[in-house]
Symmetry: C2
Subunit: 262 residues, 2 copies
DNA sequence: CTTGGCCACTCGTCTATACGAGTATGCCTC
DNA sequence: GAGGCATACTCGTATAGACGAGTGGCCAAG
């Protein structure tokens, strides 16, 4: 068994007020912060840490659990514990829905990812009619039924976002919006062609830990929160024409907004 | 020892593929979601769950840990494990920095909290001059030194937000901006009085797990992420006149923005 | 009645051990 | 050389036990 690299980790004080597993977590955290363990690199194994600190395995695992829930490291069964690499971040600009950005053939997600040098994918595409939930119904002005479009976005094979759009059925039925591929410019272009000129979007941003289902869908390591974004699109007559409910891996996104000073 | 309320929790299957502690976590989660355990109420004690499921204490603690890191429950030493109440949420509107909202005497935070029926406080106020970090320096156009204003906001005694403002020293030195209380309308009003008419704000929104220091400062339960918001204020000449770096308890906030469709 | 202490109950920390399951590697066989 | 298997190493799960420390209620002494 390889020893822990010397000088990187010190000793613990069992008589200290601070719990031993916290002291170990502190030392590992500091070593990571200082770059002693680089992004993506392997930490000493549990057995090595047990040896080095002279504690039991559960104590070591406890300290690893602390850092995992902080999002600093992630354990891989059979391989080891690794410093979590910071994934490339997708920046969502505040003008991302401007008309000029509606590309001819491809969706905004594809265009943007291509430009950033990532390999974009969309999967789990599902389009159907449903009875809206209370919340969605209220946001859309109480339609009896809605068209629901679900899809998952991936970058370089990693799922980063799961989005569900809701549109009042009278706007969507029989149009390309009700088809899996809504055509160039996406559903917003189709809405405007149908005479619903878009005026503005409202977005609500929350952050929280993922549900187990969300963690699975986005393949989230523990310690990664999600950004929950609910966008409502309004036409020039003030009617809500779409609600898009999106759950994003928080470590893959930064949202940018511009606020007026007036 | 009180038994677990009958009918609320079932049994586990030790032969299942799914780990026993996950099965227990699943059952507790479902019971909470269904309202069998209400917000703020006490879950069965570890000893009771050990008894009920016929497993060892570490297994029960493991399942409790799962739900804690999901932000569903929180354990209190000596008291028990409780369903985390959802705290009142502060909604930040996209027009929150509009001039018309600059109240005469009090800060935006105080006015808004009063209106919402909460008891607002500001503490840890600190104003000083510092050499800016690389990032702040770049955002502000590389000033040699900056005025730094730190403060913590609380609602009903609970810390919800920690904010640090940076201003180029030439704008701030010798003005009320450099005083702990900048006066009616806050530092934005002082900037405009000094001839720096504000044009717009850029905001960057990220979500992540808190550092240990942040968790302590905001008294965050485990399983609560933070929203990290960096706002830059620009005057009508395009100069960045302030950067505000804010860390917020994610369960206390929803951010609202309006995006143009053009 | 008040106060102090005891006690029961709670979660927190830690040890020691055992076995299972995923991964990588090297060696042996074909 | 290619394939397959054994093996060693990794983390995952679970048991049983011990002591510590925070909380709150009860009761007896003052």
């Amino acid at each position: 068994m390889a020893p822990v690299p010397s000088g990187v980790l010190g000793a613990v004080d069992p008589t200290s007020d601070r719990a031993v597993f916290r002291q170990i977590a502190d030392q590992l955290r500091e070593a990571i912060d200082r770059g002693r363990f680089k992004e993506g690199s392997k930490l000493p194994s549990e057995a090595e840490l047990v040896e080095h600190f002279g504690v039991s395995r559960m104590t070591v695992r406890n300290s690893i659990g602390v850092l995992q829930s902080e999002g600093l490291i992630s354990a891989e069964h059979g391989k080891g514990v690794f410093v979590r690499p910071r994934p490339p971040v997708r920046r969502l600009a505040s003008d991302r829905f401007a008309r000029r950005h509606r590309d001819q053939g491809k969706s905004a997600f594809i265009v943007e990812a291509d430009a950033a040098g990532s390999r974009p994918e969309v999967d789990s595409l599902e389009v159907r009619e449903e009875k809206p939930s209370r919340d969605i119904s209220a946001r859309l002005g109480s339609p009896r039924k809605v068209l629901v479009r679900r899809r998952r976005y991936l970058l370089d094979g990693r799922p980063v976002e799961f989005a569900v759009s809701y549109l009042p059925l009278d706007l969507a039925r029989g149009t390309r919006i009700a088809e899996p591929n809504p055509g160039p410019g996406g559903i917003y272009a189709r809405l405007e062609e149908a005479g619903h000129r878009l005026d503005h979007f409202d977005e609500e941003v929350r952050a929280r830990m993922p549900s187990p289902g969300e963690a699975k869908m986005l393949r989230l390591a523990s310690g990664v929160p999600v950004i929950h974004l609910v966008r409502t699109a309004y036409d020039t007559e003030g009617r809500a024409v779409e609600v898009c409910d999106t759950v994003m891996a928080a470590d893959a996104y930064v949202l940018a907004y511009q606020l007026p000073a007036t």
